[in-house]
């Protein structure tokens, strides 16, 4: 993917290739934490943060360790280990630096250690053969896309509280239906650019 401008990838991963609504990765925290806009924002920021950092780190791990040694097939394990430890490390650092930052961002970090969107982005970047800059922007873009989706979801769910919903559909039921509708809306973006 040499030719593609990193910025195209950045915007494309927010809209046309939204990691959540187009690839359906990171669904579990999307559904469980999207009850309030405030918490969703915190979680979204944490995802942006972690995605950007881990895609850079995993890029280095993949192209400087795994590929030269011919053990690319171990990338799943390697990526997961890197992600898990980076998340922990970040949490500790943030906790020390500032209480406010910890409350607004750090507290969410453990929740996304095993978020599949994070691993997904690292794997995509390898499959699509992005360069380093492209990878980092792809990570950041995917994170922002994810945040956008969960914020929209939280906004909608806040409104839903006042609506009459059939009892059987309350909670997860209606949340799934709404994510489906949102995904369809995002399909409208596809076709603008192709990044894969």
């Amino acid at each position: 993917m040499e030719g593609l401008s990193p910025w195209v990838i950045f915007f494309a991963s927010i809209f046309t290739g939204n990691i959540l609504l187009v690839y359906f990765l990171g669904m579990c925290s999307f559904l469980s934490v999207s009850k309030q806009v405030k918490t969703s924002l915190g979680l979204g920021l944490a995802v942006v943060f972690v995605l950007t950092i881990t895609s850079a780190l995993n890029y280095i791990v993949y192209y400087y360790i795994l590929e030269p040694l011919n053990i690319e097939y171990l990338r799943y394990i390697a990526f997961i280990i890197v992600i898990a430890s980076v998340v922990q490390l970040l949490e500790m650092i943030i906790e020390r630096i500032s209480e406010t930052l910890y409350i607004n961002l750090g507290i969410f970090l453990p929740l996304i250690t095993v978020n599949c969107a994070i691993l997904g982005v690292s794997l995509f970047m390898v499959i699509r053969k992005y360069t380093f800059i492209q990878s980092v922007l792809f990570g950041a873009g995917s994170g922002i896309g994810w945040m956008l989706a969960i914020l929209a979801m939280a906004g909608i769910r806040a409104r839903l509280n006042e609506q009459k919903i059939p009892p059987a559909l309350r909670g997860p039921g209606i949340a799934l239906i709404i994510s489906g509708i949102m995904a369809m809306a995002f399909i409208g973006f596809s076709g603008i650019v192709q990044i894969q």
């Binding site: 469980s32 009850k35 309030q36 405030k38 918490t39 915190g42 791990v61 360790i65 795994l66 040694l69 011919n70 053990i71 171990l74 394990i77 390697a78 280990i81 890197v82 430890s85 922990q88 490390l89 500790m92 650092i93 906790e95 020390r96 209480e99 409350i103 607004n104 507290i107 969410f108 453990p110 929740l111």
Partner: protein, 369 residues
């Protein structure tokens, strides 16, 4: 081939090792909050290493708050009251707590971290319920079908319970019974004696646990108990305490009486003990002793069907009859009733109490399940 495998393993080990080292160093310097003191319910201090969540810290101290989600902040089972030593409410807690809980300083133990000395409150039962390893030091016949079993605590070596509460006895497999079962028995010993518990166990035909205790359990054997539990205990009040219990229902009553005697509680106490024949009566001497120790205590045994050779000159009839006679003569306005026995007996007695103006909120019972 071998080199390939070696390279793969080594490099993975290298990556994980490196990350692990970084994390360990970070833990040591970044997440090191030194030793913190957690004070629970104002009665117990724990010295712990700070840095992890309250839930896991308590777990490591063998205090188990319920948790279904494994600390991910979704089940809200791990609620506990944190009075001091914690930062502001976290956004991960907010959705799971209601206004009232937030006002009451309720927090999620899996989300808050121990970073300084803390003052917390958790329900007494949770704090206290433990599994005890014990040794049988005494098995004594009280009557032809009730045995007193004394269990000396080994680990933990002390139990704190309220007089009237029960423990669960866990049976060992025996004869044809392959599984262990647990059965609840009220503690008969005094609540100020912390190193042992006495249980009164009546042989129930075909009963898995009682058969085990009566026919298979020997002195010096080890058994496990879990406890203390239950909300049958002495309530505050001024008025008379009227107790009714028959057979092994005597157990919690003895413990209550010991407490009344030990703490010099100056209330009038009357205990109706129901049995069939003289050979079902037990602890008579102990009761007479307690009558001397407690200022205003009367023990009234009643036999429902005394044998001619019993030469019984005390109260006769079902326990409800002497109770009824007694209540019609006494002032019941502030009296409290404490009942322990079979559901049938309890219900019959409740009717008598209610008839004489002792309302349900002043009647406490501990039915045998």
């Amino acid at each position: 081939m071998i080199t390939k495998i070696l390279i793969a393993t080594l490099s993975m080990a290298g990556i994980s090792g490196l990350l692990a080292i970084i994390l360990v160093i970070a833990e040591r310097y970044l997440a090191n909050y030194g030793e913190c003191k957690i004070t629970i319910n104002n009665q117990k201090d724990l010295i712990v290493k700070g840095g992890s969540t309250l839930l896991s810290t308590l777990n490591s101290q063998k205090i188990f708050l319920p948790s279904a989600c494994g600390g991910r902040g979704t089940c809200a089972y791990c609620k506990c009251k944190v009075i001091d030593g914690v930062g502001p409410l976290l956004p991960t807690e907010e959705p799971l707590l209601n206004k009232q809980e937030i006002e009451n300083q309720i927090r999620l133990a899996c989300q808050v971290k121990v970073k300084q000395d803390m003052l917390i409150e958790i329900p007494e039962e949770l704090f206290n319920i433990k599994e005890f390893e014990t040794r049988v030091t005494l098995i004594q016949d009280l009557t032809h079908d009730i045995k007193l079993v004394r269990l000396q605590l080994i680990e933990p070596y002390e139990i704190f319970f309220k007089a009237g509460q029960y423990v669960q006895l866990i049976t060992a497999p025996y004869a044809g019974v392959k599984e262990s079962v647990s059965r609840a028995y009220s503690v008969a010993s005094a609540s100020h004696e912390h190193d042992h518990v006495d249980l009164m166990i009546r042989l129930v035909p075909e009963g898995i646990c009682t058969t085990w205790v009566h026919n298979y359990l020997n002195e010096n054997e080890r058994v496990k108990i879990i406890g203390p539990m239950g909300d049958f205990y002495l309530r505050d009040g001024e008025g008379e305490i009227i107790m009714v219990a028959g057979g092994s229902g005597m157990a919690p009553i003895v413990s209550l009486l010991e407490k009344i005697s030990k703490e010099d509680i100056e209330r009038k106490v009357t205990y109706f003990f129901g049995a069939v024949r003289k050979k079902d009566l037990f602890y008579i001497d102990e009761m007479r002793n307690l009558e001397n120790e407690i200022g205003n205590f009367t023990f009234i045994p009643a036999l429902s069907a005394p044998e001619p050779e019993d030469n019984w000159d005390g109260e006769t009839g079902l326990i409800t009859e002497p109770l009824d006679r007694y209540l019609s003569r006494s002032d019941n306005a502030t009296s409290q009733a404490y009942l322990c026995g079979s559901p049938g007996m309890i219900n019959a007695c409740i009717n008598v109490f209610v008839k004489h103006g002792i309302t349900r909120d002043r009647i406490f019972n501990d039915p045998f399940a």
